[in-house]
Each structure stands twice: as structure tokens, then as C-alpha cells.
């Protein structure tokens, strides 16, 4: 149960403001989700480089020698930029899987939030305003981003339970609603070797999409299939390197509003999340149809 915001920029001149615009949208949705907050932001790609966003509850210890250790283990140059409990690890493209393996083998509690060329994910327990401040989200630039405020329903209020959930390289998902068959689906996916870390229903939704795409589905096909295979109430917003998509369950009770102008496409659980956007008064505002996949890309 939650608030979702999303912003996809068509006008490049707005890119330096992406973090600031999304942060305002996120904070407006505090009432819908005061437990934790998170944001996935898609920045500029750097040729030949990949990045991992990682998180630790003990970053001083866990991050201290990580770049050097990775560099030694992988035999490549690795940069690490720490932001509070998170850090972005920059390394040569193609090294992400190897780096994940090294991180998994280390002592400590480092969690990989995302990997890809463009995506960075920041999420923590706390009020959206405080989470945004910890990571200086409002200073971030980018082409598009998705944010989430969480009111936990049945799983714990933890960093792991916060959204967005990574669904694969440069992919992420946020959710408003409550899935009713996630336990069975989690067991099935785990049997098929899919990594699912929490008891959170949304993570199962995310893992399901990843699993579908690993088996050859496009993101659009995976979302279409989710309408059959996922039970319960959901509005999903998914991010990819190129853009973002929206899908609601066939009953479509959980709120969703889209707004489009020449400059951007915006998503909000409520209209008021978007009132601070430039030119919103003249935007085309509508609600996504049930069981219909929407997608915008660059």
C-alpha cells in the first residue's frame, strides 16, 4: 500500500532537474507511505562502463576496501562513490556479474540494489523527506526515474522491503496494492532458481518479470503475462534503460494518474503528486485502463 511517482522526460533541458522534480513528487506522497521510500533514477550512460548500486547497514566497514578488493579480484579498475548507506560502484561493462559474485562472497551485509549502465537505486526506511535528504536525491540529474513511498502491509518495514525492486540489468519495479498469490509464486520461482530475498509480495512481482524475461519474453510480454499469473490488486510501474511502463490489474482499484505534456510523461498515485511539475495545468491527465500495458521510451 503505497504512493508511486514516476517522471519520464522528453525535453532534455529538464534533465538536470529530474531529481528535484521527483523528490517533490515523492514527498507529496508521504501520507500514502510513511514507512520507507526509494527512488530509481536513470542517469547518463558512460561508454564501456557499468554500475552497481549497493547498500549496507554498516557502510563504514563494508565499503572501506571494497573498490580495491574488487579491483584486485577482477583485475580491472573500479571506482566507488559512497552516498550515506549506499554506494555506486563503477566498473567496466561486462563485469557486473563477476562483481556480484565477489560481493556475495565477502563478509558483511552488502546488498546489491541494482546493476546496469544507467540505473541507480536508493531506498531506506524512514519518511520520504528524510530518505531524499540522506541521498541528496534532489541534486541528481537523469532522463527518467521512479519513486515509491511504502505503507507496509504484511512484510517487515526494512530496507529490503522498500521499493523499487531491481528486476534485472537497468530494470526496476514499484508496486501499489497487495498480491494474493505471492507465497505460492515465490516457492515456484525459487524452485526454478530465481533469487528472492524477502517475504515481500512486490519482490515476487519483480522476480516474476525477471524470470519471464530471462525465458525470452520482452518486458511488454512479461507485463501482459503478469495479468494472468499474478493474483490480487496491483498497479505496477516499471523502469528500463529506455523508459518506463505502467500496468494495473483487471480490477484496477488502486489509484493511478498519468499526465503528459510535450516535455514529459508523469505518473502519480494521486494527481497532487504532480502539481509542482512545469506546465501541469495544461497537461493531458488521465487514468490508465485496467489490464492494459502502457510504455514510453526514448
Amino acid at each position: 500500500m503505497c504512493g508511486i511517482v514516476g517522471l519520464f522526460l522528453k525535453d532534455k533541458s529538464l534533465e538536470p532537474q529530474l531529481g528535484a522534480l521527483l523528490t517533490d513528487m515523492l514527498i507529496t506522497m508521504t501520507d500514502r507511505g510513511p514507512d520507507s521510500a526509494g527512488i530509481a533514477i536513470y542517469g547518463a550512460e558512460q561508454d564501456g562502463l557499468a554500475k552497481l548500486t549497493i547498500q549496507s547497514d554498516a557502510p563504514d566497514d563494508d565499503f572501506a576496501t571494497l573498490a580495491a578488493d574488487l579491483s584486485t579480484a577482477l583485475g580491472v579498475s573500479v571506482d566507488l562513490h559512497r552516498k550515506d548507506s549506499h554506494a555506486v560502484v563503477i566498473l567496466p561493462a561486462g563485469q557486473a556479474a563477476a562483481a556480484r559474485a565477489v560481493i556475495a562472497g565477502r563478509p558483511g551485509q552488502i546488498r546489491v540494489m541494482s546493476d546496469g549502465n544507467a540505473i541507480e537505486i536508493y531506498k531506506e526506511v524512514g519518511l520520504p523527506q528524510d530518505v531524499a535528504a540522506r541521498f541528496a536525491l534532489s541534486k541528481m540529474a537523469g532522463t527518467h526515474g521512479i519513486g515509491h513511498t511504502r505503507m507496509a502491509t504484511e512484510s517487515a518495514v526494512t530496507t529490503q522491503g522498500a521499493h523499487p525492486f531491481s528486476t534485472g540489468p537497468d530494470q526496476c519495479l514499484v508496486h501499489n496494492g497487495s498480491l494474493s498469490n505471492h507465497n505460492n509464486l515465490r516457492r515456484k520461482l525459487r524452485r526454478d532458481g530465481v533469487r528472492i530475498e524477502s517475504e515481500n509480495d512486490t519482490e515476487v512481482g519483480a522476480a516474476y518479470l525477471t524470470w519471464k524475461m530471462q525465458n525470452g519474453a520482452t518486458l511488454g510480454e512479461a507485463l501482459e503475462a503478469s495479468l494472468t499469473d499474478l493474483d490480487g490488486f496491483f498497479t505496477f510501474v516499471v523502469g528500463t534503460k529506455e523508459g518506463f511502463g505502467v500496468v494495473r490489474d483487471p480490477i484496477a482499484c488502486k489509484p493511478a494518474v498519468l499526465a503528459e505534456t510535450d516535455q514529459y510523461v508523469a505518473f502519480g498515485s494521486e494527481y497532487r503528486a504532480m502539481v509542482g511539475l512545469p506546465g501541469i495545468e495544461a497537461a493531458r491527465v488521465w487514468e490508465p485502463e485496467p489490464a492494459t500495458v502502457y510504455f514510453w521510451s526514448h
Partner: protein
């Protein structure tokens, strides 16, 4: 020598424990009629209950209070979190929501009279507020239900509290169906439905879903009523930890938690008997949710479903509830299932104690009916007196126990005053099995 076949010992007839006579009768009934069994009331199956708990009492390590002389207070205040006008009740036993429609106007009036005389509140139901009920209830809780029958802002502002009903213990996740027989002219008018047709009640609210929306709905109701009255949220016992936590997060002043023995006017028997948690199993998770949020006693917890005696009241309070609510017991106090109507129960194919076809409108006791002749059998003044007496007795009983445990207020009862007779009850109530310090799931292992 040979014994004839006639004299040979035969296998004694063995009744199946699975296909019992009642089970087979129900199969035959379903096959004959093509309709599932609809009935009133709550779960009849045996489930672990308050009967499986005992109080320890005081002796040398604790000192009891002198009955009737040393005070043992019983008052409770509900809605202290946000409401300008919280409700203070003389006793921690309220009357649960029961609709005009399900009950006769006389029965509703009797409930109002009895509750008021005992210093407690009564509650409307799925059918709106009647003037009789408002007139005879000093404190009236107005239910805000998915159907919204009769809902209007004037009654909302006339209420002393608003109870947003998310679920009922008899049917968590279910709607309702009041069969056409009970839709009289007056019921039909209050519900804006044609007379005599089945009334189908929705299972979800028409204009919100989930805790994030609920928070906004609560805001609207507070704005319409000027933040004066407490907002209760009533949930069925199904996932009490999460539901209590979410009701609190959405802004409730009071959480009402109804276990599976809680009654309903009419729903499928299969639903009543197979969905939901026993009341005993609901309380500790709900209290834990309140404690985890630092809200125990700040947001009050009202527990209902199978409360019958002062001992039940005391046990619910000891487990952490702030008050309890009664429905079925109040109807029995008014005369429901009274043996004096046995001949008429027999004529309806049932017997005293088992009558549960409340939805059919032919209640011999004149309580769950809209038939004017039957309804006139219940004198609201006499009914009110009976209910008041019963509420007073329950209160005295609870006080007796509390004093014996050394408490000067019912609210000072605590889980440590209790022990459990069965392992099941020990697990559900999280109090030790009698004579031990152990209950299943106790942190730290125990024995």
C-alpha cells in the same frame, strides 16, 4: 455344532466420523434445493475459547481486594487519540452493530434502552440509524459500511462515534445477503431497495481499497464531523497483527476486532464455520501490533466474538483489550432462543438454542424479524431492563475476578493473571499452561 447364520455375531453399525448424520443431511439438503445454507449467528464449531483460560487469583504473594467495599473501577474512555469528544463508558462492554432490518425496531430500541441504562454504547448496523434507536441511546456508534444503506451526513453528525466496518468475524472478506422475506416497506425505504427482493451487500467499500485510501476516507469523515467524534475501524479476525497496525497507520482512534464466533444477520454457513480466527487467537497479535507502534492504550482495542460472561470480559481485558462488545449474548438476554418458544421452534424444524434462521424473519421471540405481529412480542422497555440487568451482572462478575486478582480497575488485569487449560489455548493466548511456565512459541524456549 454349528451356529446358524442368523445367530452369527454381526459387525455393530459404525457411524462415520467424517460422514456424520448432520453432514449427510446437509448433502441431501443441498442436492434437493440447489442453494447453499444461509443462516445467522457465528461459528458453532468448538474452537479454543476463553473457557480454556483460568485466573490465578491472589493469596500470599498478591493481596486481593475486599468485594463490594474496596473499589474496582470499570470505566473506559474510547477515542482519545484524535477526537475532540472521546466516549467515556461506565463499563467496558458495548453493544455491537446490528442493523434495523436484521432486527425489529423494538429490538433495536431495547438495545438502546438497556445499553444506556448500563452506561454504555450501542451501535447501528447495515441499514442506517432509526430515530427510535438514536432517541433511546445515550451513546450511539454509527456504522459506516460497504453498502452505505441510509448513510447521510445528518446522522453522521448525530452519532457519538463512527465505526468504519471493514469486516465481520463471521465472514472476513465477505459481503452479505438479506433474503427478500425481511425487506419490509420500512426496511426497503431505508435502504432504497424494492420491497421483497434479496439484498446483496458488497464485500468491499465502494470508494476506497487498502490502508492508503482508508487514511484519506478517515480524513473526509473527520472533516465532515469536525474532528469531534472518534473513528473506529472494525476488522474481522483474520490477520490481526497486520490489520490492527494498518488501521492505526490509517488514523483510527479505536480498533474493533471481531473473532469468528461473532455473529452476523445472514451469510453462508460454510463461510461462518470455515473462515476466520477464533477470538482467543486474535487478541495477542493485535495487542502486539499496538505495542510495536507504541499505541497500546492510545488507540483502544475492542474485542468481540463469543463474549458471554464477566469472566470472558475479564479474560479479554487481561489479554490486552480495552473493552469488549457483545451481539449474540445481548439478543439472548432479550429473549432469543428462549425455551418458552420451544413449540414454535419445533414447528420451524429446529429447537431452543439452535435457532439461527435469523434471515427468514420468522423469529418466535420477535427479535430478528420485521413481522409486526412477531415483533410485538418483544416489549422494548422490558427488553431494555433485561439487557441492563445482564450487563450489570457481567460487570459485577468481572469486578469480582479483578478484585480477587488484586486489581482496583479492570484495566489493570494482565496476561500474568491467567493460565491455560490446554496447549492450544496456551499457544493462542500466550499464557502458560496451568502449573507450568511454558506456552508454545514462548521466546527463549521454556522447558
Amino acid at each position: 455344532m454349528s451356529t446358524s447364520d442368523k445367530e452369527a455375531p454381526r459387525t455393530a453399525p459404525i457411524q462415520s466420523a467424517t460422514f456424520t448424520n448432520p453432514v449427510n443431511a446437509e448433502i441431501r439438503r443441498a442436492a434437493a434445493t440447489g442453494i447453499y445454507d444461509i443462516r445467522g449467528g457465528g461459528a458453532k464449531r468448538k474452537v479454543p475459547h476463553f473457557d480454556d483460560l483460568l485466573f490465578l487469583g491472589a493469596s500470599i504473594s498478591r493481596y486481593p481486594l475486599e468485594g463490594y467495599r474496596e473499589r474496582c473501577d470499570t470505566s473506559v474512555t474510547l477515542g482519545t487519540r484524535f477526537a475532540k469528544n472521546p466516549i467515556t463508558l461506565d463499563i467496558p462492554i458495548t453493544i455491537a452493530g446490528m442493523s434495523f432490518g436484521a432486527l425489529s425496531a423494538q429490538a433495536k430500541e431495547a438495545l438502546g434502552r438497556g445499553a444506556s441504562a448500563a452506561g454504555t454504547s450501542t451501535t447501528t448496523g447495515d441499514g442506517g440509524m432509526t430515530p427510535e434507536e438514536r432517541g433511546h441511546s445515550t451513546k450511539l456508534v454509527y456504522q459506516y459500511l460497504p453498502s452505505r444503506y441510509g448513510m447521510n451526513p445528518d446522522d453522521l453528525r448525530r452519532a457519538d462515534a463512527i465505526e468504519i466496518v471493514v469486516g465481520q468475524g463471521a465472514k472476513p472478506g465477505g459481503g452479505g445477503m438479506l433474503l427478500g422475506q425481511k425487506i419490509s416497506d420500512r426496511v426497503a425505504e431505508m435502504r432504497t431497495l424494492p420491497k421483497g427482493i434479496d439484498q446483496r451487500s458488497a464485500c468491499r467499500h465502494p470508494d476506497w481499497t487498502g490502508p492508503d485510501d482508508l487514511e484519506i476516507k478517515i480524513l473526509e469523515l473527520r472533516e465532515i464531523t469536525g474532528w469531534r467524534v472518534p473513528i473506529y475501524v472494525k476488522v474481522a479476525g483474520s490477520r490481526p497483527y497486520f490489520d490492527t497496525a494498518l488501521a492505526v497507520k490509517a488514523g483510527a482512534d479505536v480498533v474493533v476486532l471481531d473473532g469468528m464466533q461473532g455473529g452476523t444477520a445472514a451469510t453462508q454457513d460454510v463461510f461462518i464455520e470455515n473462515v476466520g480466527l477464533p477470538t482467543l487467537a486474535c487478541i495477542r497479535p493485535a495487542v502486539r501490533a499496538l505495542q510495536d507502534l507504541g499505541m497500546h492504550r492510545e488507540v483502544q482495542l475492542v474485542v468481540s466474538g463469543g463474549i458471554r460472561t464477566g469472566a470472558d470480559v475479564a479474560k479479554a481485558l487481561a489479554l490486552g483489550a480495552d473493552a469488549v462488545s457483545i451481539g449474540t449474548a445481548a439478543l439472548v438476554a432479550l429473549g432469543d432462543n428462549d425455551p418458552k418458544w420451544e413449540a414454535e421452534y419445533q414447528a420451524l424444524g429446529t429447537t431452543t438454542g439452535a435457532y439461527d434462521d435469523w434471515h427468514e424473519g420468522r423469529d418466535p421471540a420477535g427479535i430478528t424479524t420485521q413481522d409486526p405481529l412477531l415483533a410485538s412480542r418483544l416489549d422494548p422497555i422490558e427488553g431494555g431492563r433485561r439487557l441492563r440487568n445482564y450487563l450489570k451482572v457481567m460487570t459485577l462478575e468481572a469486578q469480582t475476578i479483578a478484585r480477587a486478582c488484586g486489581h482496583n480497575h479492570l484495566h489493570n488485569l494482565e496476561p500474568e493473571d491467567l493460565c491455560a487449560l490446554t496447549v492450544e489455548a496456551a499457544a493462542m493466548a500466550q499464557v502458560p499452561l496451568a502449573g507450568t511456565e511454558w506456552y508454545p512459541g514462548k521466546p527463549g524456549g521454556g522447558y
